[in-house]
């Protein structure tokens, strides 16, 4: 409104009798108490400049960045985060394209001695870059959108898993993938399971244990549903062994691949579903458990950093990694004492995923494995596997990804083991790709040790498991 048209007395759109009241001005101002300082409906409106206050430029983040280590062109997390944000003005939208080279391993978050919200800055900047600077018709955008939304394609493939696996494995498919989409032809596409976890769960008739006092809501994520249902089943068996009632709420992708590709709106939609469903489960007395380290990371850290749905914080605060939860709430090592596993698992090369490391969980698997007779788990060190979700799938990142992974491959090779062990689906792809080893999930080993393995498949009924569970629970 032009000032000329506006009488001075009309200065405030609607005068209130008292100027003393908080929020004063507008007549329709009821919401004024809920000031939008913390509420950023759109990522591109987020102002993270104050986060740069914590940075004193020590560069520890840069020295811990696996991408910067192998790619001299990548300016590193300090530039991507606090420096770039500090140089921004409100209306600036030109984010440097190098942010797309960040793999979102989030190691910088853990490395920073001063709690700079680095990955939050990177995620937000990346979203802004994609929104403002990347053509929505470009091959890169389409490819990234597809990779980020793998979950949308997976159900199709799952309908015809065998056909899909054959087609995906064809060299012509890979060639097309690389030529038309820029997805590297060097990698084998993960196989789709003939039966998804959720199909299995429905066929099974859901939970076998009911327990008002011990409930978990299982966030299985996409990969263990469509590709490795054996991991999800292992979780069910292990948790039922300890007497938990397992709930499997409706869920969407955790958002991890969407964050990494700057598809923040896609991630927001997915997160909204997840927060709503998981909050309902928490309301029913459950804690949220994830078997994938990136899923738990996303719910615990990225959701509260990037979104502000009702209950976001509650869901974040009540989400756990599957092994961590048992270590805290059960006597896991006690239960594992005097257990043994078959030859399938003896010597294992363990890689802690970056996203476990960021949650402070990088030491737990070795400790848990030590309690099981006959297993020798070797930690292959603290390097990054290099694949970082969809990152290593991109043609332009493949070489960088393999360079980063080199240290891990070497250590796996040196370790006395022919089997790999990890909790992250894409780390496991990279481990397999680099060494040819078969890669297991920690929950699969626990399942074997605790004796739940194969009970259902063999007998076609869950009664054995239930009996076993009851005994074990009582004995704890």
């Amino acid at each position: 409104m032009s000032d000329a048209q506006r009488p001075i007395d009309d200065g405030v759109p609607s005068e209130q009798p008292s100027t003393g009241g908080a929020g004063g001005g507008d007549g329709d101002d009821d919401n004024d108490e809920f000031e939008p300082v913390q509420v950023f409906p759109e990522a591109e409106e987020m102002d993270l400049r104050p986060g740069a206050d914590s940075c004193y430029k020590c560069s520890t983040c840069d020295t811990n960045c696996p991408v910067a280590e192998v790619d001299d062109e990548f300016p590193g997390p300090k530039f991507q985060g606090p420096e770039q944000w500090r140089l921004k003005r409100q209306d600036d939208h030109d984010i440097d394209e190098s942010v797309m080279k960040c793999s979102n391993c989030m190691r910088c978050d853990s490395a920073c001695p001063s709690s700079v919200p680095l990955s939050q800055m990177h995620n937000t900047a990346r979203a802004e870059y994609v929104e403002e600077n990347m053509s929505k018709l470009s091959r890169e955008y389409l490819r990234n959108r597809m990779l980020a939304n793998y979950r949308r394609l997976a159900p199709l493939a799952s309908m015809f898993p065998r056909t899909a696996n054959v087609v995906m494995g064809l060299s012509v498919t890979k060639w097309l993938g690389e030529k038309t989409l820029g997805i590297t032809s060097e990698r084998e596409f993960p196989e789709f399971a003939t039966e998804t976890f959720r199909e299995w769960w429905t066929d099974r008739g859901g939970a076998k244990v009911e327990n008002e006092d011990k409930r978990i809501a299982y966030f299985h994520g996409c990969y263990s549903n469509y590709n490795t249902p054996e991991v999800a089943k292992a979780l069910v068996h292990v948790y039922e062994h300890f007497g938990y009632e397992v709930m499997v709420p409706e869920q969407s992708c955790s958002g991890t691949p969407m964050f990494a590709n700057g598809m923040l709106e896609d991630a927001r939609r997915a997160a909204e579903t997840n927060v709503r469903e998981l909050a309902a489960a928490i309301e029913d007395g459950a804690d949220v458990i994830a078997s994938c380290s990136s899923c738990s990371m996303s719910i615990r850290q990225e959701y509260p950093e990037l979104f502000d749905f009702e209950d976001t914080e509650t869901v974040a605060a009540n989400t756990w990694d599957a092994v961590e939860y048992l270590r805290v709430h059960e006597d896991l090592t006690g239960a594992l004492e005097n257990t043994a596993v078959g030859d399938e698992f003896d010597d294992m090369a363990y890689h802690a995923p970056c996203h476990s490391r960021n949650q402070g969980l990088d030491g737990q698997t070795i400790e848990v494995m030590d309690a099981i007779d006959g297993i020798d788990a070797h930690d292959v060190g603290d390097s990054c596997s290099g694949i970082s979700g969809t990152y290593g799938w991109k043609e332009e990142n493949y070489e960088t990804s393999m360079k980063i992974g080199e240290e891990m491959f070497e250590h796996m090779d040196e370790a006395e083991a022919e089997t790999g062990l990890t909790e992250c689906p894409t780390c496991s792809m990279q481990m397999e790709h680099g060494t040819g080893y078969e890669i297991k999930h920690t929950l699969e080993v626990l399942e074997a040790a605790l004796g739940g393995d194969g009970a259902e498949n063999g007998a076609g009924s869950g009664s054995d498991t239930d009996a076993g569970t009851t005994t074990a629970t009582e004995s704890i």
Partner: protein
């Protein structure tokens, strides 16, 4: 008697540089001398507000009108030094409605575009404004970089034939009876660009006319010729925040008071200020409580500043003046108008005028009026063109905005560099040489630093004010040495070392007022880095005894 120059301008602040440019553009032979670096006095120690006039719209409408006129001119002639941030006068519940109304009426009386925003609308503009800000008046305040503006004036003066001597302190006024005919100066390192370690010299410069534009120091200069210039220096504190909490100038809408403004300035925000008369503009206490009080008070407007990181604080001295006999007690009430004291009319001493009072935003109009006066004295009839002719860097700004080149730099660095350099960007940044970033905090590249060294010699503080290098959150911890390295091989090791010391000491001067929280960590890290990587805690090369380097080679 032949003079060395027609007009000698004393003082390298905004007024002095503005006068030098104005006269030079009129074809007058002019020389400017400055005790330190350009902007070392009050110009370099202000909050960088480009007034819309809103601040004076109630108390001093003549100043307000002049402000809005000059504001509009500077947006045109100095667009690369000005950021059109807009400004808000915000009202808190305890602030008077009556004054709010007067402010709004005053703005409109003075031709200052003013729009009222509700509290919610204001928070939409600036999300970090306090919840209980009830309403605001939106005005066209802006942010201006006083350093670059002043340098651009000096540069343009030189292009028009002026001689500009920095680090040349006036030690005496040359007076013959009732005529002042020049000054004696002491060069810090000889005439021309500054070179550390060069021996100083003195020089007499004679002139047909002397303009004393030394602001708060005008009294000291006057005293050299037994003239009484009763300038009343008044100090104000300003605190620099690490990041911009606001992108709009935030003023408190109340009659007067300390700590009532936040100006977004480049990558930072500057909190201001206080107003307290001091006896000596070179020697006054800088006290922590002034900083604390300011942060606390401004947190009422923008609560986040309470917890936010400050990187330094500095004090500036206003050159307030009022005609003898006015007798105003509170310096806040002294007019911000400027006064031209013609010592011939006033004291019967010809050959010199002194300028006192005034404010940065109207420096150009002041310079025009003074130049008119001087031209009348000299019988020069040329007219002023400074309101139309853009300053170097702003000559062709529309072309620049249409197609901002990145010169191979990462986007935010290219954007900031382009904004600092204006249309000089291509000249400076187009290079076949590698162009790494020298100052990471402010995104300053080697090419820009080299360009500044071309202008100012071995003086790294002069490089700093031209480029912003070392003005970010590390306060030089990570870049001072890189900047110093850029002096080599043009300058030898000893010169480089001295220039580095001088820059880092200057950075420390302001940073020591921010030693808590994050900036304390920063200072500790800087110290540790400098001590362990450059021996700067106790460098034997700085000592008087020769270092026996052979001892090291021998493994001692």
């Amino acid at each position: 008697m032949a003079h060395d120059t027609a007009v000698l301008v004393l003082g390298g602040g905004s007024t002095g540089c503005g006068i030098a440019r104005d006269l030079a553009m009129r074809g007058v032979d002019v020389t400017l001398v400055e005790r330190g670096n350009l902007t070392d006095g009050t110009t370099g120690r202000m909050h960088g507000l480009l007034h819309s006039g809103g601040r004076y719209a109630v108390s001093d409408q003549a100043s307000a009108t002049e402000c809005i006129e000059e504001n509009e001119i500077l947006r045109e002639i100095a667009s690369h030094c000005v950021e059109e941030t807009g400004g808000l006068f915000v009202q808190r519940p305890e602030d008077s409605d009556e004054y709010f109304r007067e402010k709004l009426e005053g703005c409109r009386d003075c031709g200052i575009p003013a729009t009222v925003l509700s509290g919610r609308e204001a928070r939409k503009v600036e999300p970090y404004l306090a919840d209980d800000v009830s309403r605001a008046i939106q005005v066209p305040d802006g942010a201006v970089d006083p350093f670059r503006l002043c340098v651009a004036n000096a540069l343009d003066a030189e292009r028009h034939g002026a001689r500009v001597e920095t680090h040349a302190e006036v030690i005496d006024l040359l007076r013959d009876g009732d005529d002042i005919y020049g000054v004696e100066i002491r060069h810090d390192s000889g005439p021309g660009k500054r070179t550390h370690k060069s021996p100083g010299t003195t020089e007499e410069i004679t002139a047909e006319y002397v303009v004393n534009a030394t602001g708060a120091w005008a009294g000291q200069i006057g005293a050299m010729a037994d003239l009484d210039v009763a300038v009343r220096p008044s100090k104000g504190v300003m605190t620099i925040m690490n990041v911009r909490q606001v992108d709009t100038v935030i003023n408190r809408c109340r009659p007067k008071g300390d700590a009532d403004i936040i100006v977004p300035h480049e990558t930072t925000a500057i909190l201001g200020t206080t107003d307290e008369e001091v006896a000596d503009p070179d020697d006054y206490p800088e006290e922590q409580w002034e900083v604390d009080m300011m942060i606390d008070t401004l947190a009422e407007l923008v609560p986040i500043v309470e917890e936010a990181r400050t990187i330094r604080s500095f004090w500036g001295v206003r050159p307030l003046y009022e005609p003898p006999g006015t007798g105003t007690q509170d310096p806040t009430d002294i007019t911000r108008d400027f006064f031209l004291l013609d010592h011939d009319e006033r004291d019967g001493v010809s050959g010199m005028s002194s300028i006192v009072g005034g404010k940065f935003t109207t420096y150009r109009a002041m310079a025009e009026e003074i130049s008119d006066h001087v031209c009348a004295k000299l019988g020069v009839s040329a007219t002023c063109t400074t309101a139309e002719d853009p300053l170097p860097g702003s000559e062709n700004i529309s072309v620049l905005e249409e197609g901002m080149d990145d010169f191979g730099l990462r986007s935010p660095i290219a954007r900031r560099s382009n904004q600092r350099l204006g249309n000089r960007a291509a000249d400076v940044l187009e290079t076949d040489e590698p162009n790494p970033v020298v100052c990471e905090c402010e995104g300053v590249t080697r090419a820009e630093v080299q360009d500044a060294i071309d202008q100012s010699g071995s003086d790294l503080n002069a490089v700093r004010i031209r480029t912003r290098a070392s003005m970010g959150n590390c306060q030089g911890g990570f870049c001072c040495q890189n900047m110093a390295t850029e002096l080599h091989p043009r300058y030898d090791e000893e010169t480089v070392r001295e220039a580095l010391d001088e820059l880092f000491e200057e950075r420390w001067k302001g940073e020591r007022h921010a030693l808590w929280g994050e900036q304390l960590s920063q200072a500790m890290l800087n110290y540790a880095l400098h001590a362990t990587t450059m021996n700067r805690d106790n460098d034997p090369a700085n000592g008087s005894t020769q270092v026996d380097y052979a001892q090291f080679d021998g493994g001692a």
